[in-house]
Subunit: 204 residues, 2 copies
DNA sequence: CTATACAAACCGACTGGTCGGTTTGCAAGA
DNA sequence: TCTTGCAAACCGACCAGTCGGTTTGTATAG
């Protein structure tokens, strides 16, 4: 087999094995030996592809970020024009997708978090950009951010096993979150709620 | 000193040390040795009070649940009558409090999660009850749940280091989340959005 | 086409160190 | 004296990362 193909096959196998282990045994059991065992490769071969465990987690995160980034772009291209706030709609749709996936994202996040919290700076940077995009297109930026935060809350609660909501109920909540008409009344009747001087109750 | 007092003092010291370690070094560095070192007691003394590490985490979780449970009750007693939806207002206020605390709750959650995800069933049960309470008092249960989910999202993102929002901006969002008047227009203009047959877009 | 030389992928044993938990000893309260 | 709280040494399991050596692919010269 081709050398490049061998490498890529091994790397893919290692990352898939890592996701399997995290979802099946929890992030605490994600060890280099476990990845080697699960993927069928040797530990030496594994460390040849990923010199440290941190490198494995980094690759895992990048893979997930790329996957959902593509999903967002595809949504914007296909259904973007249908909404007055395409960025917000795309983010809500992407978050909804993340919940149906076999919990891969936040499981990777969780694994990364326990190993090295600094890895999360990638995620923070990415979500910072989406926040800017959402605010830029919104007539009522606060309301848009709150809809986004609600979607994040539903996803994070589910992924961390904290969610007491049934799948159907969560689906209905996502439906409503993504439906611009449901919120237009608020944005129109309270447009200046987003401006300063109105909601300045922050202490000190 | 009295024996019982000595025990309690040691247990408190151990839990406080655990919180210090989690917030300063991350949950991965929460070890029995580290707790013993941080609290000034010996490892033997520590394991005398908490036979296993899981027992430490369990006590940590219970301590936090109790703390925020008290906070919620106090809020209901003091400011409950001021809102049309006191349970929701209390939950939002409590979540806001959790964010200002030195990240204790979810840090404990995080520690527990990496060690033993089954411990989280306590949290899930507790939040199930609050969800029921919020739905029961709301004219528009979906909207109430979404406001609650948004607060959860803001808190979880902050605690896991994913939040790109500044403190001030988050504070304004919480202000608006907790202000019933900001949402009444929506609840009144779209009351039947909470009923079935309107938002049934859930696949299969 | 074959031989040679080098590079990349891979293997598995080993090392230094950490962690959860146990055992032993001792001092103070009951 | 007998129990309780605590200290310190200790144990076995586990883990990330290393290392010497092997196998497989690749390029070049004859």
């Amino acid at each position: 087999m081709d050398n490049a193909s061998r490498s890529e096959r091994s790397r893919k196998a290692a990352l898939q094995a890592a996701l399997t282990i995290i979802s099946r045994d929890g992030p605490a059991r994600l060890t280099l030996d476990a990845i080697a065992r699960e993927s069928g490769m040797s530990k030496g071969g594994l460390t040849h592809q990923f010199p440290t465990k941190e490198a494995v987690l980094k690759a895992l995160l990048e893979h997930q970020i790329e996957y959902f980034g593509d999903f967002t772009e595809r949504y914007l291209a296909e259904a973007g024009a249908a909404s007055a706030q395409p960025q917000l709609a795309a983010q809500i749709a992407t978050l909804r997708e993340a919940i149906t996936q076999p919990h891969s994202v936040a499981l990777a996040i969780l694994g990364a978090l326990t190993q090295d919290p600094s890895l999360l700076s990638q995620i923070r940077a990415a979500s910072g950009k989406t926040v800017d995009a959402i605010k830029a297109e919104a007539a009522d930026p606060q309301l848009a951010l709150l809809r986004w935060a609600a979607a994040q809350g539903l996803v994070l609660m589910s992924l961390f096993g904290l969610n007491p909501l049934a799948d159907q109920e969560r689906g209905q909540l996502f439906d409503r979150l993504g439906d611009d008409r449901q919120w237009s009344a608020l944005a129109e009747s309270n447009p200046r709620a987003a401006e300063p001087g109105r909601t300045r109750k922050v202490k000190s």
